[in-house]
Symmetry: C3
């Protein structure tokens, strides 16, 4: 569990980097604006999950290590801005690992609070994607989850996998790795093959 | 009360249909995006009300029937997309009945938690309209409640009516039907006659 | 403390005026829309702070005087619309005093709930700026805090000042005035000299 905690803190820092970089595409924020967007991107999903579940205190409000990770992430994003923009393809991998981990952690947390598995899956997905959705809303863009290659759907699939294997009695750590692996695989294939879900009004 | 519960669940499903259809006007979401917007539209108003009131657990988190109603709504929206778009005028009636019911149910809930009647009226209106506001923000549109024919104001009028008649001692079920009827009537007249409130800076 | 309560209620009313006026720049809302935006602007920041902290009941839900201040603010904004638009420079001063006060009050409240000072500073800033951010999102604009002359950064500086002097043992009322004064001074200088923070991707 110690390892998972460290991964969560690091994952939060990576989300802050990705948020601060994404902010620059359109809104052209100043230093504060980029930091603010990085901050919101990294804590938005987990905060929304916990507020919907009524689970207090919020993790980052309670444990200052998450703030430190966010600060470090933003400073790194600022120092290595050009390099990071060029490395976006590598960075995509970090984001993918991040959403996979956040999905499973969020699903587990919701489940531990006694909600129905369907709700737990939604909360897991929310943990991973809603920070980005809030970021897109703040920078006045239509959230990419509505359009881009399979993204939220990968998280949802992973959450459902986790819940199914958990119900079937699979050992927790194995299940964690396996379900995260499924999210990562779906996401990578979707991007490589440029796969999208069909449009809703496709008829 | 059993009847009211059934109506609430059905109303949530209708809100999901209306959200999924509305999503297509501009954002052109994929299947997931439309479902997500339908989901947010149907649970957004009630969730915001309960979060502001600190009333946990949120209804849809606690009672899985609401999720089932949303799923069914989204599947129906997808299957009968073209028919539903053509039937929008009929559909307008469902939306109107829906906001009327949500307004009164929300007002009652807030009142039962002991808040001031003014706050209860605002919470009732929020229950009905905020799902649509969140939907509009997510799809990058200026919320229609700021511009369209009398909409939120109809809800607010109905909520105030309910509170006044409740204070005057009218029997609850009669009051419910009467106040909902007032919301529906105002809304239908406003649309038929194309009535809007005056612009704020009209001078 | 009585004085501070009165100032808070008045400050809420001023925020409602400023929100109702700002709404008109782009969204051209009707009477209801402007009131709604004024309302959200004035209660948004404090509500978000309290929801993130899990501090219930929300102030305006519990104490009806805040709603009365908002109503009066909106009615004044409507009655004296033209005059107020012309007086915007004077009005800027009210807004500045408002954000200064909200920042310190919010920081104090968070601190009294036992959070880390870093979190308290963020919550103080949120109290002051997030109402405006929500207003900008609702009216489909990129929040001004990402671009404009130093704004949120002034609040953050004031909050950090307050926390530092509080830690150093300065008497609370003196600290309150001094920290608020720092926010006001930074903000006025920033606007007079047209100072912005550097762009994030300035390299």
């Amino acid at each position: 569990m110690q390892i998972q905690y460290i991964l969560e803190v690091i994952g939060t820092g990576f989300f802050a980097i990705s948020g601060a970089l994404a902010a620059n595409d359109k809104a052209e924020p100043d230093w504060f604006g980029a930091s603010f967007i990085g901050f919101i991107t990294s804590i938005g999903g987990g905060s929304l999950r916990d507020i919907l579940l009524g689970s207090y205190p919020l993790v980052w409000v309670h444990d200052i290590n998450f703030m430190y990770a966010i600060f470090i992430g933003i400073i790194l994003a600022s120092m290595f801005f050009k390099v990071l923009i060029r490395l976006r393809k590598t960075f995509f991998l970090f984001d993918t690992v991040g959403i996979a981990m956040f999905t499973i952690v969020g699903t587990e947390k919701a489940l531990s609070l006694g909600v129905h598995p369907v709700i737990a899956a939604i909360m897991g997905m929310f943990s991973a994607i809603m920070g980005g959705v809030i970021r897109d809303v703040l920078t006045n863009e239509i959230p990419i989850i509505f359009k881009k290659e399979i993204y939220a759907t990968a998280c949802l699939t992973g959450a459902v996998t986790y819940l199914t294997l958990d119900y079937a009695g699979l050992e927790r750590n194995v299940n964690f790795l396996l379900s995260a692996f499924i999210i990562i695989t779906i996401r990578i294939i979707a991007v490589k093959k440029n796969l999208s879900l069909p449009k809703f009004n496709r008829t």
